[in-house]
């Protein structure tokens, strides 16, 4: 019996466990892509706020923008780690891992929103 060597990346992931139902793998992939689209949106919001935003308190505006952008810098790493951890759990038949990524995103939006409101109220 010949066994084709699995050349998928990362090798350390595909060495473990056994092949899960394809549908779960594809759902995991779509979740990763959804987080990437979320990253694009939050980065676009951060840039648009600074480049296109109406007149508002400059320091508070740049702070709001940076909160969004720094979250946008972190999200892809979380998306990748979430994908690998979920794929590993699927292969090993373990419960799916949780992730703080949703909480981080929610907090970033709340903090940024509060800064924007303050920036508008305080004016230029």
């Amino acid at each position: 019996m010949t066994v084709t060597r699995d050349r998928r990346f990362p090798a350390s992931l595909y060495r473990q466990g056994q092949e899960p139902d394809v549908r779960f793998t594809l759902a995991n992939e779509r979740t990763f892509l959804a987080w990437i689209r979320t990253t694009l949106a939050i980065i676009a919001a951060g840039v648009a706020l600074e480049l296109l935003g109406p007149t508002m308190h400059p320091t508070l505006r740049i702070s709001a923008s940076l909160v969004l952008l720094l979250t946008g810098v972190m999200l892809p790493a979380f998306a990748w780690i979430g994908w690998t951890r979920t794929e590993r759990a699927l292969r090993l038949g373990q419960p799916l891992p949780s992730s703080p990524i949703g909480l981080i995103l929610g907090l970033a939006v709340i903090v940024s929103g509060a800064l924007i409101v303050a920036a508008i109220l305080l004016g230029d």
Partner: protein, 119 residues
């Protein structure tokens, strides 16, 4: 081993159309990246008064177009793997890791743009 890999049905490899939904997810992502890059191409060189930022926008558009084709090649590999018997034909995480790196670079670049515009 999942029975999916031994399937020989006509029509879609998966009646739930998961490969198709996955391809569409890739296409949505490609569109978002391409459109965002086109807008950046329009706004950033003007805002920063520096024509070199055009290259960043062009790179983003190219990445978005590549992603569109990756959607189709991954779909082909998935359906082939589902109809065949070798699960390692399924696409792996290499393209996902590249996207992660590219998106992090976009985030860092955008932070530079904003700090330059404000400073």
């Amino acid at each position: 081993m999942s029975r999916r890999f031994c399937s020989e049905t006509e029509g879609p490899a998966d009646p739930g159309l998961q490969p198709e939904r996955t391809e569409l997810s890739w296409r949505r992502t490609a569109l978002a990246l391409t459109l965002g890059s086109l807008v950046a191409l329009r706004l950033v060189p003007d805002a920063l008064q520096d024509a070199r930022w055009i290259f960043a926008g062009v790179l983003g558009v190219i990445a978005g177009v590549m992603m569109w084709f990756i959607a189709r090649t991954r779909y082909s590999r998935i359906t082939q793997a589902m109809r065949g018997s070798d699960p390692s034909e399924m696409p792996g995480g290499a393209e996902l890791a590249l996207i992660c790196a590219g998106m992090t670079a976009i985030g860092i670049g955008s932070t530079i743009v904003v700090l330059s515009a404000a400073g």
